[in-house]
């Protein structure tokens, strides 16, 4: 059974409709990628799930409807959203950012912070540093670590490669893959860099103007002529 299922989801920003009826499904333990050009509705799809945009249609997570829940309630159900532009608290320290990630949980966080230092060794030595003084790559890693602090079941990742050096992007996707394989973390990732996304994901959806244009396994999409031309560039 799918952990997350969207049926005919529409969303709008004021009078502008950004999603024209999206349907997709993510099974527990999968990494699923959402590809598409700018303005295709990738980010809005994630925002519809986490409740940061007004949406209609059916969004079912773990058997529960998310349709009427706000972002606080969705987060509490174990859905962690790393937004575009990272959304770290630049005036707060690295440690405070991490602690906020575990806001919905009780109990000691020291073990979790140590675990994050295992994934991102620089974190352990710079807990007191203001997040705003980190490099772009470090902020992206901090945003990911903060999301993981909540021990989510479903991770929504928005353009983790945006503005980052290729090596940093690789490192982030390597860690996501590791979390998926070792802890069974389910991931829905939005990405412009289709090549790396298809490499990591098992399934993918291609969006065009607010609708699903093509979907299938990553191998199928990588073989698909039009997907290759438009998004992989060969």
């Amino acid at each position: 059974m799918a952990l997350l299922e969207l049926k005919d989801v529409e969303a709008r920003y004021g009078p502008v409709r950004a999603l024209h009826g999206i349907s997709l499904a993510v099974d527990e333990g999968q990494i699923v990628a959402v590809l598409g050009a700018n303005g295709a509705g990738k980010t809005t799809t994630l925002r519809a799930i986490s409740g940061t945009v007004k949406r209609t249609g059916e969004i079912v997570y773990d058997g529960r409807s998310l349709g009427r829940r706000g972002p606080e309630a969705v987060a509490k159900l174990g859905v962690a959203h790393v937004p575009e532009g990272r959304g770290t608290f630049s005036e707060l320290s690295v440690e405070e950012n991490l602690r906020l990630g575990a806001y919905t949980r009780r109990g000691s966080l020291d073990g979790d912070i140590e675990r994050m230092s295992g994934y991102f060794p620089w974190i352990g030595t710079r807990l007191g540093q203001h997040a705003g003084t980190l490099s772009g790559g470090e902020q992206q890693m901090l945003a990911l670590a903060r999301a993981l602090m909540g021990r989510p079941r479903l991770l929504l990742l928005d353009e983790p490669s945006l503005g980052l050096a290729p090596l940093v992007t690789r490192e982030i996707f390597r860690i996501v893959k590791e979390l998926n394989e070792q802890d069974g973390l389910t991931v829905l990732v939005v990405e412009q860099n289709a090549a790396i996304a298809l490499e990591v994901a098992s399934h993918a959806y291609v969006l065009e103007v607010g609708k699903v244009a093509v979907s299938g396994t990553s191998e199928e999409l990588a073989r698909n002529e039009s997907v290759r031309k438009s998004y992989l560039g060969y």
Binding site: T52, E91, L100
Partner: protein, 294 residues
């Protein structure tokens, strides 16, 4: 020289009161970008609660003080939830108009419940002075200063070291990201109003022994608090306290050394401070200048 030191100490006492009310204004402004014009009237109202506990229910001073702080917390949360939250998506002007409505409401309620009669309010400090050489130091001023400083230190520790404190700071800095990690930002704003009301209650209870208790007692204090907040930087908690102390000391010194100002022209001097700071350094002494794209 003795006169100078006495005025400085008196100024620190007054300034601590301005600073605590200024801090209340800053807490709400940081979180929502709105000035709560009802902060002074809420402070006055809670001071009446303290008076009722002491005079009508026979509580001694410090239990009544603590009880009033608790009442203020609940009052602040309630006002935010019932009156402010429903219009929180409206323009800043709408919210400001709501706070002006609250000014009239609390003022009217206080007159209705307790009448506009001027009443004496007890002070927890003896009306005596410590003599150090030629300098007589008012115990009331020192006591006021210490009480405010202790409470501000407790508040700082609450913001710095507790989970709710962290969530309160996060909500003010980045509400959207806070919601994504599961912080209920609406409630955090309400708690912010509650804490602001507590600070106001402290200011009210420490003001009332000298000004006496009446429904208009906090109106001038609120102007001083505005001046203090603007002087320190309207988004800077440290600035609010520092601005309050500077203003308190400054006004006392000007009042005693500049003949034509005296006690009567203190309020215009405070307004002049607001005007000059906004013209010369709008971010205040401790604020960071904000560049905004238009």
């Amino acid at each position: 020289m003795a006169e100078f030191f006495q005025q400085v100490v008196a100024g620190l006492g007054d300034g601590a009161i301005y600073g605590s009310l200024a801090l209340a204004l800053v807490l709400i402004h940081r979180a929502t970008g709105v000035i709560n014009f009802a902060q002074g009237e809420m402070a006055m109202f809670t001071t009446y609660i303290a008076w009722t506990l002491i005079e009508n229910h026979g509580w001694s001073y410090w239990p009544a003080f603590a009880g009033t702080l608790l009442f203020a917390l609940v009052l602040g949360i309630g006002v935010q939830r019932v009156v402010i939250a429903p219009v929180s998506n409206a323009s800043v002007l709408t919210v400001v108009i709501m706070t002006i409505g609250l000014v009239l409401t609390f003022n009217g309620l206080a007159s209705l419940i307790w009448s506009a009669e001027i009443r004496a309010f007890p002070s927890p400090f003896p009306n005596e002075t410590w003599q150090i050489g030629e300098v007589s130091i008012s115990q009331e001023s020192v006591g006021t200063f210490v009480v405010v400083l202790v409470l501000v230190a407790l508040l700082w520790a609450f913001f710095q070291f507790t989970k709710i404190g962290l969530a309160l700071r996060a909500s003010a800095l980045n509400p959207e990201a806070s919601r994504l990690v599961g912080v209920r930002v609406g409630w955090m704003l309400a708690i912010g109003w509650g804490l602001a009301a507590m600070l106001g209650a402290v200011a009210g209870m420490l003001t009332a022994p000298t000004t006496f208790l009446e429904p208009t007692m906090m109106q001038a204090i609120l102007i001083y608090a505005f001046a203090a907040a603007v002087l320190g930087g309207i988004d800077s908690p440290v600035g609010a306290i520092a601005g309050g102390l500077l203003l308190g000391v400054g006004l006392n010194l000007i009042g005693s050394y500049v003949d034509f100002v005296g006690a009567d022209l203190r309020l215009p001097v405070a307004l002049l401070v607001i005007l000059v700071v906004l013209l010369v350094r709008p971010a205040g002494l401790f604020g960071k200048p904000v560049a905004r794209r238009v």
